[in-house]
């Protein structure tokens, strides 16, 4: 797959946190009633995870599911498998009213690593980033500065931020700007 070009070719920045554009991430948007048994089972079969609760995530290795809205989930898998997963999922969804679309190429993903990641995000997103309000197992679908974004934490010092591919450059620049060394707020970490 040497023809695959990431939006920024794998850019990175080291400041209050380390920011890295991740290589291709398989992503499937599922629209449907997330409480529908057929849909829950179809996701279980095709992605091996249960659909998460409100603003939550479910992971099993490289597979995952993120709650996006009461009738939308973002399903994760290895990049190369996304098309096949959509086919498999659509097969399992026969009889249910649902729509599954491969959106892997529509998005860019950034990893934020470091203990200051909470406040880097809190400079850009109107989200309560304190540890008692947000942590691993949760997802937020929101905005960062002027663009739509979603993010979740893999562990206490790792977060992933997703945005549309066309604004990857903007996202990388605002994250890097917010992570400038001398700009620590020291709100969550004193």
């Amino acid at each position: 797959m040497s023809d695959v070009h990431l939006a920024l070719g794998g850019a990175s920045f080291d400041g209050l946190v380390k920011i890295t554009e991740l290589p291709g991430q398989g992503m499937v948007t599922l629209r449907g009633d997330l409480a529908d048994k057929t849909i829950v089972q179809a996701v279980q079969h095709a992605f091996g995870v249960a659909l998460p609760g409100v603003r939550e995530t479910a992971f099993d290795g490289e597979n995952g599911a993120l709650w996006m809205s009461p009738d939308e989930a973002l399903l994760l898998c290895p990049y190369a498998e996304a098309e096949d997963r959509v086919s498999a999922l659509t097969g399992h969804l026969q009889g249910a009213h649902a729509l599954a679309v491969n959106v892997s190429d529509a998005r860019s993903v950034f990893e934020l690593k470091g203990r200051m990641l909470r406040e880097v995000i809190a400079k850009l997103a109107p989200v309560d980033m304190s540890p008692d309000a947000f942590g691993p197992g949760m997802v937020r679908r929101t905005r960062m500065a002027q663009v739509a974004a979603a993010f979740w934490m893999d562990d206490a010092s790792t977060a992933r931020v997703v945005c549309f591919r066309s604004v990857a450059g903007y996202m990388f620049d605002i994250l890097s700007n917010a992570a400038e060394e001398a700009s620590a707020v020291n709100y969550f970490v004193r």
Partner: protein, 1005 residues
């Protein structure tokens, strides 16, 4: 003249000198000085000139309420006007200049205005300068602009070099104000278990209590403050932020905080200001109180200060404000200043107490120190110009005609204290008049309420009207506990500490000094220093019928300056009430609006500047375009190549070359920005039949159809090609700018009107890179790439197919927006660049030519295809554009159908689309109007049409245009006249809008 005292100065470090300049003069202050205290230490009592009369002004306050001591800070790129010297911490190399004077601060020619004062009364803008009209533009406005106004705006080419940012914080309890009340409220709330954020606008905690004295828990106030700050700092649920103003309180506990990080240390890296965007469940306003000036003649002469401010300068900064200071007061607090001055070794010739019986314990203390107290006394007038020379003393209950003179070089005045109710009031908190203290205080029964109808702001301490130290702490502890309890915290907090401070006798309201001052004195008694509003101005406004306080404010400009009337507000209201013969609470207050003090534009903009001012959307091929000379055009947030001029080639020539190359051989367009919305479900066909004017449910899988979308009012909103993917699934192409809007439009109808229809949508726009391969050699190129059959039989016009091209998974649509043989090919976005490169490489033999949006526009115009945004402008319906063929007659309904049946929509006189050809082959101006005979009722030339698109067609080698013309389609061949800039005109013939290949032979091969 003011000097530095040998003792005192709790906030300065005498071991560290700080050099700065004022109007170019090099001066030295100490670490910890404000610019105001450093200027006073250098004997610089004259700090600025007033707004209207250019009167000499000195500092009158010691905090953010300061109206006079405003300076320009910095220069060039860092110049900032209207900075308060009282809140500016000095740093090495600070450069300040005074404002509003010419040619110099000491000698100001504008001061002649003060001699013209009787021609500049309240409302002078409205009265004097209306007639004659031309005078406004050529005489009055330039004159006023030059003579009035405060600081100078930075130069147009200046660029702020600093960084700014936002920060979103969430907390249970936000405490605004770090005085003893704020500290105690924060402590109580934190002990109760709530998460607390405490903001203080100055660099120091404890407010003015260390200056005012008193003991807390048996300790001196300063010790208690230090211990409490340390205790708070050690609590994991508490965040303390100094140099951070609580600027505004908004709905549902949203509060703006304004943190000044490097103003005092510009050499530090990092952001200069940070805007805190806070969500608090409960807000405690411990914002203190502000001392009021007294209204006597000459109360604005440099050397006249608020009594508490003078005390601050003595105790905090070791300033000797003058060797002989007269105190004038209507309350006990000013006696503290007399005592502080006396203890600093300075002379206090007299304390003038306007109350007939004087004050309480503090007065006795002053008397015991040997100070002279005159009760029932008042200042009739301060004598002096740029400095105080003497005061004329009279009886308060008099007209000031009988006076005795006391020589002095400073005056300390106190008219009582007004609780800072601004933040309580921002979001609707009401006030109640406290006649005993002559002040408005928060009405606890009418607190600002949140989403649940419950109060979310609690005032604390002197901001709540408590003026005794013990009562302040009790009140604050209760506020902290109450706020915490409201957020669900369930621990109990410690009892409030006990405090000791002298009891104070009640004040006597004094709104004019002396009470029966004649006009001559009232016209020199200032209410609003910054906007130069006097007692006589407000009285005149009342006399002229401006009875509402809001009207008086605007007529006189009282309280409308950058200090928002912090000192003048209550005095102005009282003056108005007296003039109207009403009680103060009946007159009421003006509205308190955020921000409490000015905040920088940089903080508001935050990170949004330079490269990240706005997101720029880039297609997967953006970098190629950039590297190949794209002349960019913004389309929404996208950047699209307008054309690809080669070295030495003009943009216009490039456009013409791109059109001809495409028509004659092979062109390539990056069409990735077009919206691609997937619509699926058993009701998808029915849904699209409602969204589009034409029938989509009859489209067969594998086929494409062009469709129009209208608003509910019938106006054309978007267009594009719909492809049916399978029985249940459609892919709707939208315009570049329409993708998000149309997706939202679909979701709105699905979620609010047709919520029971089984349809899902996904905006998949960015999943694909889309490339239009256009021209007679388009098929040859795709066949060379190989992988799928794209022959006429396998993939006919308006059909689509999935397959592989050159090993890249592709969906190929055979659609044409140019009139040529054309394929639009969608590939996964991450493969878009590689696919583009393959096309370029393989297309070399046909001289493959990437083209931009202008060539696209010209080619569609040559074919008579409409463009959303050119032929439409929100007032055009499809019928205007001759698109009746795309409006289904069979359907019962579609969005816009009923609107299009309205009488005005079916009016035969609506302008309709036609083609236009100038008689001389030149190009019409875009937007030009067709001129009809005569003029309308407004004397304007009648029109009968307008140009909607106009280009030079390199294919036809002449100007072509489309336009909307009255009865246009019925007037083929007729010649009409268009405007052509200024009085010039151009004649054009009405023709068919399809200029090129009207039979569609080229695209259907």
């Amino acid at each position: 003249m003011s000097t530095r005292l040998p003792t005192q100065g709790r906030l300065i470090n005498r071991d560290r000198d700080v050099a700065f300049t004022f109007n170019g003069t090099r001066l030295t202050g100490h670490d910890g000085d404000t610019l105001a205290s450093a200027l006073l230490a250098n004997g610089q009592t004259l700090m600025g000139r007033s707004f209207k009369y250019h009167r000499p002004r000195g500092v009158v306050a010691s905090g953010s309420e300061e109206p006079n001591a405003l300076v320009n800070l910095g220069e060039g790129d860092t110049l900032e006007p209207n900075q308060r010297a009282t809140t500016t911490e000095i740093f090495h190399g600070l450069k300040a200049t005074s404002q509003n004077h010419w040619p110099s601060l000491d000698y100001d020619i504008g001061a002649v205005n003060t001699l013209l004062a009787r021609f500049l009364p309240a409302g002078f803008y409205y009265k004097m300068f209306i007639h004659p009209r031309p005078f406004w533009k050529y005489v009055y406005e330039p004159f006023i602009r030059k003579s009035a106004g405060l600081g100078k705006a930075p130069a147009a080419e200046a660029r702020d070099p600093d960084r700014y940012e936002h920060f979103y914080a969430f907390t249970d309890v936000l405490v605004i104000g770090g005085g003893v009340a704020g500290l105690q409220a924060a402590l109580s709330a934190a002990q109760s278990g709530a998460k607390v954020l405490l903001l203080e606008q100055t660099p120091h905690w404890g407010g003015r209590t260390p200056v005012d004295g008193g003991t807390i828990d048996g300790k001196d106030a300063e010790t208690w403050i230090a211990e409490t700050v340390a205790a708070l700092d050690a609590m994991p649920n508490v965040t303390l932020r100094s140099r951070t103003v609580g600027a505004g309180v908004y709905d549902h506990g949203y509060v703006l905080g304004y943190e000044r990080l490097t103003d005092h240390a510009p050499e530090d890296r990092g952001p200069r200001h940070r805007l805190w965007r806070i969500r608090a469940a409960q807000v405690i306003t411990a914002t203190g109180a502000i001392e009021r000036p007294l209204s006597f003649a000459g109360n604005d002469i440099p050397g006249v200060m608020l009594a508490a401010a003078m005390r601050d300068y003595v105790v905090n900064y070791a300033i000797n404000p003058g060797d002989r200071t007269v105190i004038v007061t209507n309350n006990d607090d000013a006696y503290r200043t007399a005592i502080a001055l006396h203890e600093a070794g300075l002379k206090v010739p007299a304390i003038l107490d306007a109350r007939p019986n004087g004050g309480g314990a503090l007065m006795e203390e002053a008397k015991a120190l040997g100070l002279t107290v005159k009760t029932g006394a008042a200042i009739a007038k301060v004598k002096g110009h740029k400095a105080v020379h003497s005061v004329l003393v009279t009886q308060q209950d008099s007209d000031g005609s009988e006076t005795t003179e006391i020589f002095c070089d400073a005056v300390a005045m106190s008219g009582g204290w007004s609780p800072v109710v601004h933040l309580w009031s921002h979001c609707g908190g009401k006030l109640t008049w406290d006649a005993t203290q002559a002040a408005f205080r928060p009405d606890h029964d009418k607190a600002p309420t949140s989403h649940d109808g419950q109060p979310f702001v609690i005032p604390a301490g002197s901001a709540d009207g408590e003026m005794n130290l013990s009562a302040i702490l009790q009140n604050a502890a209760k506020a902290g506990q109450t706020a915490a309890t409201r957020t669900g915290a369930d621990k109990s907090s410690d009892a409030a500490p006990t405090a000791e401070a002298p009891d104070e006798a009640p004040l006597a309201p004094v709104w004019m000094m002396p009470a029966n001052a004649p006009l001559k004195l009232r016209a020199k008694a200032w209410l609003d220093y910054q906007n130069d509003v006097k007692v006589s101005d407000v009285q005149l406004a009342a006399q002229e019928g401006f009875e509402s306080v809001e009207h008086t404010k605007r007529y006189t400009t009282l309280g409308m300056a950058t200090d928002q009337g912090k000192l003048s507000n209550i005095n102005g209201l009282a003056t108005l009430a007296n003039a109207l013969g009403e009680d103060i609470p009946q007159v009421g207050t003006t509205t308190f609006r955020p921000p409490y003090t000015p905040i920088s534009m940089g903080a508001i903009a935050g990170e949004a500047r330079g490269d990240i001012f706005q997101p720029i959307r880039k297609t997967p091929m953006h970098d190629w375009h950039d590297a190949n000379g794209a002349h960019w055009e913004p389309v929404g947030h996208w950047r699209r190549p307008y054309a690809f001029p080669r070295k030495g080639e003009s943009v216009k020539d490039a456009v013409n070359r791109e059109v001809l190359a495409t028509r004659n051989s092979l062109g390539l367009l990056d069409a990735s920005t077009l919206g691609k919305i997937i619509v699926k479900g058993p009701d998808a066909g029915r849904f699209l039949d409602m969204l589009y004017t034409n029938m989509m449910s009859t489209l067969k899988p594998g086929n494409c159809r062009y469709g129009l979308m209208c608003t509910e009012n019938g106006f054309l909103a978007d267009d594009g090609v719909v492809a049916r993917i399978d029985e249940d699934t459609f892919l709707c192409h939208t315009t570049t700018g329409g993708a998000d809007r149309i997706h939202a439009h679909m979701e709105e109808w699905l979620q609010t009107e047709w919520w029971d229809w089984k349809v899902w949508t996904v905006n998949a726009t960015e999943q694909f890179a889309q490339v239009a391969v256009v021209g007679p050699n388009a098929r040859n190129l795709l066949e060379k790439l190989g992988g799928m059959d794209v022959s006429k039989d396998a993939l006919g016009f308006m059909e689509w197919k999935d397959g592989d091209l050159a090993g890249v998974p592709a969906r190929v649509y055979r659609i044409s927006f140019s009139g040529e043989l054309s394929y639009e090919i969608a590939v996964p976005a991450n493969l878009g660049r590689a696919f583009w490169d393959k096309l370029l490489e393989a297309g070399k033999e046909w001289d493959i030519t990437p083209y931009g949006t202008e060539a696209l526009h010209i080619m569609r115009a040559e074919k008579g295809f409409i463009m959303i945004g050119d032929e439409t402008d929100g007032t055009v319906i499809p019928q205007d554009l001759g698109l009746d063929w795309a409006i289904s007659k069979k359907k019962d309904d579609y969005i816009g159908k009923r609107a299009q049946a309205r009488s005005h929509m079916t009016d035969p006189d609506r302008w309709k689309l036609v083609g236009l050809e100038t008689l001389d082959g030149s190009v019409l101006k875009d937007g030009a109007y067709a001129i009809a005979g005569g003029t309308n009722a407004n004397g304007q030339t009648n029109t009968e049409g307008r140009v909607t698109s106009t280009y030079y067609s390199p294919t036809l080698q002449k100007g072509i245009a489309m336009g909307l013309v009255l009865n246009g389609p019925d007037r083929m061949g007729e010649v009409i006249t268009f405007t052509d800039g200024g009085d010039d005109t151009k004649t054009a013939r009405i023709v068919s809008p399809v200029f090129y290949d009207p039979d569609g032979e080229k695209q259907n091969v």
